[in-house]
Symmetry: D4
């Protein structure tokens, strides 16, 4: 169910701009991206939310292509949290799902779970608004993935209404 | 059973060109490769098959050496699908088996499943015709590996009869 | 002169959608991308142009984020041309300039020229239309960078008028 | 329980230097590091402890940032033990826990366990004194992780009292 | 002249805390780091300074160990600027010099200039205050290294007086 | 039992050359290595043994340091078998055990099993003679790890008597 | 002159099997490869030729796809010669030229010369016979590239007549 | 002159143990390695020598195979000096020459100078005694390569007489 949502969304987006004949795709396709300021707002709220829990984290916000837009690392968070937060953000974006929903998905050695650049532990959430996929948020450094995810979601919630209206 | 097929095939090919004495292998060995146009035909049918399911994918066709001949990525498919499709194609070629048959093969941590450049999730199929191994096809981006494989096989089916006759 | 053009373009694009106050960037920014079919048309014309010169090449078309959209490699082109064509395409996109103009730019050991993923030899051209940067094309495999670039430009020319009108 | 200890420690450290208002973090934060001589003392005792068990090992002591300060490899220890000891040391530092306590933590394919540079097998121990995290020790080469850990802990024990007093 | 400054600084720092006998280094050494908020202030001013020049950049602030503390990438800046800005920042920190002063330093193929993770083009500046090395700033994306450096320095200038006083 | 054998061997070797006082290790230690010709003899017999089973393989013989001395790849064996055979050979050498005995050793995600350069599937055997560890053999390409190991052992058996006498 | 030879050769090969209409490439293309035994003969003669000069080397013979077929390293040759010999062999194959002819080709920082997997120093020679490109040979370890090349060519000369006749 | 010395040495070593007929190499070859204690003595003197110049460095001693035996990094030396010192040590070992003599050797882009794992800047010296190559020393962190080399040589000088006698 949840796994299919990305493709349904994509279909809607394309059908809105595609021609009737599937052999005649438009040459140019319009996509939306969030501003750097929006990404920074998300990241700051994630940091602050975790600080209120007495936890220092790293947070990465990636754009629609999976490349970092903003990275903040609290001062005592270890450097490996940079990599982990980025890879959770990219996994959430690429699979259009919170990474907590992806944790049990890969059952075998050598499966897609091994591909470089993606981590499927809780703490990543996709950014969507107005039917568009816009990016991903990843958090690492809290003592549990659940708390990582709570801080990531707090960051998203802080801008989501405005994103929906901006669309 | 299925795991042995690659070596039986190889034996036939070599015996066709080898001398009677196994110590006297021929200096030159003739191998067949598919043209770029054939690889592109396979890739396009894979893309179109998945679009009919409202899914956008990336598809890679690798040559006999495991190097990409053609890569197509539908416009909204995330970039990680490039890597995944290539590694499924290479796994299918190298083990001469659909990757769906290889999913349960590796049971241990640290086994062959960890080697770089191979992914053993469904979505990869080998290209064979006339008793020769010719390449591999890998698809990534669909909500399930089964659908990835369906699109990869559709690409293969579109050229298989002609490949058998061309041989 | 040429080196500045990317930023002037960017300024125009942003000013077209930005608010008067630079502290109030819009939350969402709209960008354009070319379709997979357009990328494939570019790549096929590049291949065919070089074949007419009795040369086999690899060609990569990258999207606005620098990720491959289409890769074609002619059947006898060595595999390293895959990497080279992709990195020329990304360099042309990232610096918004034909790579032939960038060849003498970096004078020192250890400069930006060493960064992974970019090659500054002739054969890469950016894709622009309607004042937008849309992607990059890279070609490798011809006996000279000039011929690589000729084939890349032929690919671009084949779609440029339609891209301008599509905008 | 143990998993939370790092954050409690961090909280204490920050509260000791932070202002009352969480919006007004100090610009400069003071951290402590062990000297190279201390790191070397730790490493030598680890080597000697394992030699007494007729075992040759490699030992890495990393600083607070996870970068090696001292590495010793006994003469017949294989080179891969260099990498393993460093990654155990970094894991112990980053998670502020003996790696033996982290061995069962990651249950899924594709989880945080796959991130580069960290190994979660027994043989890594964090260096803490006076409420501060100061580094990590990793040992590899013994026939069991338990013995690796014993040698790492022996190295730490040899300096711990002095570290507590130095604080 | 300038190249020696890092070691003179270091000497001062150590002599301030070392015992008379060089064989008796203290076990613990105190170092200073800037807060995440300070790093973010630096990065934001760098972005804004370049925007006033109609240029979009990426900026990385690394801590004393060379690991990123804050990364901001303006919305249309290509992803490779992330890597370049980080490596300029690390080079400025590691050599304790603006990278513009390091551009002509390495004359030979295969020299230190090739080491991974460092770029010696203009746009990197070290962060020092009160006789301590505190981190590095790197900027990439402007049409010239000089403008990259101008924006990096503007970021530093915005906090330098406060850093000196905080010491 | 088997896991400890490497260290017992090492102890014997060292005690043979070490001084009575463990604080006074000799400055120079003598180690033995096999010649290139011996490594080639091993590799050729491994290839021939597998050919008799109608199987084409790749075989790597590594020296005492884990670096390849000889690599042979039969003409239709896929290139990934090069990597796999080398990593099995290095694993057998480093753990001084056939890799078939190591297959079940690592139970956890993120354990030593993930370290780069080692594969713990059947097909690797150590080379020992006269109480010395001399290298490792790895085979890949057969339809089962058992057959890979059979060919590797056949290669070893072909030279073992002579190695024992040469010692 | 020399640089064009690869493409003229390729044209001949294709025209021999292609249809009159360039839009109708054949689906299957036949290529030739040398046997493992031939590759081994080349490598052994290269080793022996250098030994007669009192030099120990590493030699790699790559197949048509650039993947190693045979690697021999004399017993005291350092491990880096493995990498260098392989990358010279691949460069000679990919550019269809002795690498000694390619040494001055790349004039700029950031050019094709930086691509991974290719080294353009003397010591690599392509394997051609009967108008076909069949592989490459690379040698490293001699005190000069000229001697490396001499040994590589001796290896080729030892089989060239037979290769021409086998065609 | 100097460049040939490694091969003359090697010849002597082999002729000392080889049979009269060059086709009958011995199966086992005896090589010497320095103990870990000797490597540590070298490294400590290098550190101390540089400290007397008010400079903090990193020093790596590699064994005959180029793998680190001992690494020491003074407490304020940046982490990149770890990599640089190791790669200077390996270059000095592999080319059997101080790296200061190798600085002008590679004149072209894409030459051997680009191979991973070797740095050809001053600061690396080989360890030889009794006609045997035994390892390499690399130093990084001083304001000039000359000072790096001075500290490396001081380390070597401290043990050289004993090494010659131990032989």
């Amino acid at each position: 169910m949840k796994k299919n949502s990305i493709f349904i969304l994509i279909l809607i987006m394309i059908s809105g701009i595609a021609h009737a004949d599937s052999d005649e795709q438009p040459m140019l396709i319009t996509v939306k991206r969030i501003s750097m300021e929006t990404a920074l707002s998300i990241a700051k709220v994630a940091i602050e939310t975790c600080r209120k829990e007495a936890v220092q984290i790293a947070v990465t916000v990636v754009d629609r292509a999976g490349d970092p837009q903003v990275i903040l690392r609290d001062v005592l968070t270890p450097a490996v949290a940079l990599t982990i937060s980025e890879q959770k953000a990219r996994a959430a974006l690429s699979f259009n799902s919170p990474t907590s929903n992806l944790q049990g998905r890969f059952k075998n050695h050598g499966s897609v779970a091994k591909v470089d650049g993606l981590i499927f532990s809780a703490g990543g959430v996709p950014i969507q608004a107005g039917g568009s996929i816009l990016g991903g948020i990843g958090v690492s450094g809290a003592p549990s993935g659940e708390l990582d995810e709570k801080c990531a979601k707090a960051g998203l919630d802080a801008v989501l209404d405005d994103l929906e209206m901006a669309d």
